[in-house]
Amino acid sequence: MDVLIDNLPALLRGFRETVELSAIAALVALVLGTLLAAIRVSPVPTLRWAGTFYVNTIRNTPLTLVYAFMAFAVPRLDFQVGPFRAAVLALGLYTAAFICEAIRSGVNAVPVGQAEAARALGLTFTGTLRHVVLAQAFRSVIPPLGSIFIALVKNSAIAEFFAVPEATKVFDDLVRDNPDALYWLFAGVALGYVILVLLISAVFRFLETRLVVLR
């Protein structure tokens, strides 16, 4: 117990890093995932194939490997990336594939008749997309997005092995110095993650209820 109190600043620093990493990666993933989803539902076959290829490749690659590629292969493209940026890229690129799938299934879940009716009313493609399809898809995408962001936070723990001083890395370092306090340290760090997860859960539950009211 004392170990947790004595090292509270270090632990909090670790969790701040976790939150920063996750937040920026989530933003990257959201933008990229939306783009990918647009590509995957677009009428242009080549773009669609490229999108499908990307999603299928990423979905079948362990995240740890994606991290390794960002840390060691990206510098070979003559882009110098620090550990934090490499981790943001890895998490962002990986998560984007899953966000894309969530959005795509949200779009596909909108009944075809809705869009047909909109087009029959003379709405343009963008009009149909904005007012009819996305408006409805967005709502059904919220819950899976919440779970994806939670998974993202947990996946940020892998960044420990790629030189990012986030919470799991702090745990690892503290255990090295205080091997006897393993249980307390695990309990403390696990609790930190549980709190983060519950927070994200709460935010998305709130969003969900708000959007239901809006409808």
Binding site: Y94, I150, L182
Partner: protein, 301 residues
């Protein structure tokens, strides 16, 4: 081809699509070309970087590592199925004193990062868990036990939710009819719901195998001799990190794609027969810590 977003294209739209198609191909091709040229310039494709993989000893090492990966995934999934059934039974129980602990157990292991869990088990319990490695002939420093148990706890918790959704997905009339025939809850479960649910959730279970397979890569952090770890052995000797990563990624992608393909084949077949299907939600497929607290696996149709 009509989808929710657009009707079958007319001549003008087709022309526009062609232009976009060409542009899109050009952009994608340029990006790939750029990456390949840069990598080539930086020596990633030089023969010396790839030569080690033509050596039979290295190939044998990779095959052994592949087997270690598959073995860990198989054992973990088998254990996770058992744990998942137990936990799902707990969650579906009528008794709160069974239901509450089962729920808390599931929520906890779905909230903690798998890395943290495996690390903790390795640091704290490798001696206690060494027997698992001995049973499956994988003594390797006692890393097998912690890895498999970590994967079991996490995947078991996810599978429990899959099972629960599977049972819930069986049309309600089935259970009602069974109760009407005078069956007890136990019988209804065993004879009516579970057999039908199993079929419905088979695709989700196979998808979860892909997740477990991918997550075995976390074994490298506790020096379990799986693909990534042995890849490190190769590149510490030959300084060919990027080629090694490519080789290992290719192995993983081929393996996982085959399994994913099986999952979607099963799903398609079920749909064709007009059956309901339980699918993993995208977050569960992310692995490493899976889907949200309290979000059950997605029920499609």
């Amino acid at each position: 081809m009509s989808s929710v977003l657009y009707d079958a294209p007319g001549p003008r739209a087709r022309r526009r699509m062609l232009i976009f198609s060409v542009l899109g191909t050009a952009v994608v091709a340029l990006l790939v070309l750029f990456a390949v040229l840069r990598l080539k310039e930086n020596g990633v494709f030089s023969a010396r970087q790839w030569e080690p993989f033509t050596d039979p000893g290295i190939q044998r090492l990779l095959f052994k590592a592949l087997w270690a990966t598959v073995k860990a995934a198989l054992v973990a999934i088998a254990l996770a199925l058992v744990l998942g059934v137990l936990l799902a039974a707990g969650r579906l129980s009528d008794h709160a004193w069974v239901r509450t602990p089962a729920t808390m157990f599931i929520e906890f292991f779905r909230a903690v990062p798998l890395v943290l869990l495996i690390l903790f088990l390795f640091l704290g319990f490798s001696d206690e868990l060494a027997f698992i490695g001995r049973i499956f002939g994988s003594s390797g420093q006692g890393a097998f036990g912690p890895l498999v148990v970590g994967l079991m706890l996490y995947n078991g918790s996810v599978l429990a939710e899959v099972f629960r959704s599977g049972v819930a997905a069986v049309p309600r009339g089935q259970a009602e009819a069974a109760y009407a025939l005078g069956m007890r809850k136990n019988q209804v479960m065993r004879m009516i719901l579970v057999p039908q649910a199993t079929r419905i959730m088979l695709p989700a279970i196979v998808s979860q195998c892909v997740v477990a397979l991918k997550d075995t890569a976390l074994g490298f952090i506790i020096s379990y001799e799986e693909l990534l770890r042995q890849g490190r052995l190769i590149y510490t000797n030959f300084g060919n990190i990027v080629p090694t990563l490519f080789v290992i990624a290719a192995i993983y992608i081929i393996m996982c794609m085959a399994l994913s393909g099986l999952a979607s084949y099963l799903e398609r077949r079920l749909r064709q027969r007009g059956s309901r299907v339980v699918a993993l939600d995208p977050a569960a497929e992310m692995g490493g810590g899976g889907s949200a607290v309290g979000e059950p696996a997605e029920l499609v149709r």
